[in-house]
């Protein structure tokens, strides 16, 4: 029993990171109808930026994260601006455009920070908390808390604010959105910016959990993508559920299937998707032009 509980705890913090990555995927899809294939690379950039500011310039961790989020938000704006002529006109080309941007970001990361990575010490130095024989890292709790807050803020933004509603409307019908006065390009830019910010948040948070290297975003990107699909692509609660599910699933298979754990995770994922292709919370929210 203890192993089971400890396994769940181990999987939850990584699950929260996957959830954040999935949120970014789902948000951009929900508001732009676009799968952003550069998302994983933005996670890497965010991780490097946050760790650089934290380690080299010795900024407090929270501040380093905010700077990383701001810079990646800017990157998101640039990507959107470059791809804007394709918006609502050629989705496939836009998709390919994001793949291209992903490659560019990957090359930039290696150019700036080198191909080797760096370890990031935990910003919360206190020892793990012991509860009923289970050990919980304090940093994991921080990650969970921040991920929860970010999710709540995102949900409030989408459901309660004018801009949030407008962002979703654009994806559903960009012509009608224009007719009511929404600036489609600007709305997409903000969506992309928020998506990038979420990616940076995930990357910055995961640094002390793992190891910052150019390959980091690739791994997290794939897991986050799978999480988004599992939860229902475009669904916000789905991203959370999917992220946590994959994190915990990973931990469990690692404990029981040793070297074949990844295969088992993949099989479970495949079965669930075959049974329910739209994902746990799947909904058709986006009409493509």
């Amino acid at each position: 029993m203890q192993i089971t509980l400890q396994t769940i705890i181990g999987g939850v913090s990584l699950g929260a990171v996957y959830a954040l990555v999935a949120l970014g995927f789902s948000l951009v899809y929900r508001t732009m109808g676009l799968v952003n294939f550069a998302h994983g690379n933005v996670v890497t950039v965010g991780a490097y930026l946050a760790s650089t500011f934290y380690l080299s310039t010795k900024l407090p961790f929270a501040l380093a994260m905010l700077v990383a989020i701001a810079v990646t938000g800017l990157i998101g704006l640039i990507i959107e601006r470059v791809l804007r002529p394709l918006e609502n006109r050629d989705f496939d080309l836009m998709l390919i455009g994001t793949i291209g941007f992903g490659i560019v970001l990957d090359a930039l990361v290696i150019m700036i920070w080198g191909a080797t990575g760096r370890a990031v010490p935990s910003p919360v130095p206190s020892a793990p908390i012991e509860v009923l024989g289970l050990r919980i890292r304090t940093y994991d709790l921080v990650v969970l808390a921040i991920a929860a807050v970010a999710t709540v803020l995102l949900v409030l933004f989408l459901s309660r604010t004018k801009r949030g509603a407008a962002m979703q409307a654009v994806a559903m019908d960009h012509e009608a959105a224009t007719a009511v006065g929404i600036h489609v390009g600007r709305s997409n830019a903000i969506a992309f910016m928020i998506g990038a910010g979420l990616a940076a948040l995930a990357g910055g948070l995961v640094g002390p959990l793992l190891y910052v290297s150019p390959a980091l975003g690739g791994t997290l990107g794939i897991k986050g993508f799978a999480a988004a699909i599992l939860g229902g692509f475009g669904s916000i609660p789905g991203a959370i559920a999917g992220g946590l599910a994959i994190g915990i699933l990973d931990s469990f298979t690692a404990g029981h299937f040793q070297g074949y754990s990844e295969l088992v995770t993949f099989l479970v994922f495949t079965v669930i998707i075959m049974v329910r292709p739209t994902g746990i919370f799947g909904e058709r929210t986006v009409n493509r032009a």
Binding site: I3, Q6, I9, P128, E130, Y211, S213, A215, G259
Partner: protein, 385 residues
């Protein structure tokens, strides 16, 4: 006037195109081993992962090899010819490696340094054997020996040696019998698993746990909690730098106080940083290169390395440095031979390197002993006694 300019431009364009084509057609990369002429630069290929998860190894190897090559070039090269080091990225992938093996053959490289990843080296071995290109690798998998190529040389001990020395220290010297094993399912991890298990079994010791993880695994809670319940004194790690660092970090978070033990990866700064110096304290490391202060030779090497690359030297750089030095020495004694003659020259080279005294046997192994060190205060030092 305009029309004449246009004609001139097109004529120039045609002329350039033809010259380029002609230049490209001349002297194709030969499968004759003397790389075109005997007075041009000597071409040596360095093949390693320069990108991807194992890229730190590739970067270190490149630096070690580069240091050796630049030292020789500054002293006049080999027989007056400069040495040209071509760098190739195998991305840690065996398929890419085999493509590169064909490529360096067709481009006239006469020898190869690398790779640090045994799976890639083993994949490349048959092609290099057929092309008769000697290869000095820093991999340590016993599978390299099993490949049976007279063109393959190891500039470090095999896993068998590492783990035999390690087991000797832990079981025979320290008397510890309660040992758990965590290895990954990559080629290094598998080699380590088998070698250490064999070393334990030859001492009638059965590990209290034998867990295998995947190379990409990020969370080890399940495995570690199980091990914690068995309460071993020592946990053997058979995984690369970053992954083993994560295992140690998570183990300490779970309250595991056992000492960790391992081979080459556990002696690197990357491992110590990822695990956290405090968490890695006391780790037992079996390595032929215990540190930069071990000997005068290593101090000299480390100083030169630091001056050139502004980084601390470590095992993999030292391995590549030794390997390259041996290759260059063999080139000199054989008067820049190639193919089988060069391989024989390498085998005959006796070299006192940073890792120890090299004397290659017929299987290509040059070093058959390692030393034991421990991690103290975030640094690898020789073990007491």
């Amino acid at each position: 006037m305009f029309r004449r300019r246009a004609t001139a431009i097109s004529a120039f364009a045609v002329f350039s195109a033809v010259s380029v084509i002609l230049a490209g057609c001349s002297a194709p990369g030969s499968d004759d081993k003397s790389s075109g002429d005997s007075s041009g630069p000597i071409k040596i290929a360095l093949v390693d992962a320069q990108s991807g998860q194992l890229s730190s190894l590739g970067a270190w190897e490149l630096k070690g090899a580069r240091l050796a090559v630049d030292e020789w070039n500054a002293a006049g090269g080999v027989n007056g010819r400069q040495i040209e080091l071509g760098v190739f990225d195998d991305q840690g992938d065996p398929t890419t490696g085999t493509n590169l093996a064909r490529k360096i053959d067709s481009e006239g490289y006469i020898a190869m340094i690398g790779t640090a990843e045994s799976a890639v080296t083993i994949a490349m071995a048959p092609i290099l054997k057929q092309a008769e290109i000697p290869n000095i690798t820093s991999g340590q998998s016993p599978g390299l020996v099993a490949a049976g190529s007279e063109f393959l040389f190891l500039n470090g001990p095999t896993s068998t040696t590492y783990d035999e020395t390690l087991a000797k220290h832990i079981v025979d010297k320290q008397g510890t019998k309660s040992i758990a094993m965590i290895t990954n399912n990559g080629s290094y991890g598998k080699g380590e698993h088998d070698a250490f298990l064999k070393a334990l079994q030859s001492r009638s010791v059965t590990p209290v746990a034998d867990q295998v993880v995947t190379t990409d695994q990020k969370d080890f809670s399940a495995v570690l909690t199980g091990i914690r319940q068995k309460n071993p004194k020592v946990i053997f790690l058979g995984a690369e730098e970053v992954e083993s660092g994560l295992i140690v970090k998570q183990a300490r978070d779970l309250g595991i106080t056992a000492t960790f033990a391992g081979a080459a990866p556990q002696g690197t700064p990357v491992f110590i940083d990822t695990a956290g110096a405090k968490n890695a304290e006391g780790t037992i490391v079996s390595s032929p290169y215990l540190g930069n202060d071990i000997s005068d030779a290593s101090k000299k090497f480390a100083t030169a390395y630091k001056a050139k690359f502004n980084e601390e030297a470590e095992l993999h750089g030292a391995k590549a440095y030794d390997g390259t030095q041996i290759l260059l020495a063999a080139l000199k004694t054989s008067n820049v031979a190639t193919g089988k003659a060069l391989a024989d020259a390498i085998r005959a080279t006796k070299y006192q390197g940073l890792l120890g005294n090299f004397a290659f046997d017929t299987t290509g192994v040059g070093i058959s002993a390692t030393a034991i060190g421990t991690i103290q205060n975030g640094k690898l030092v020789a073990a007491a006694g």
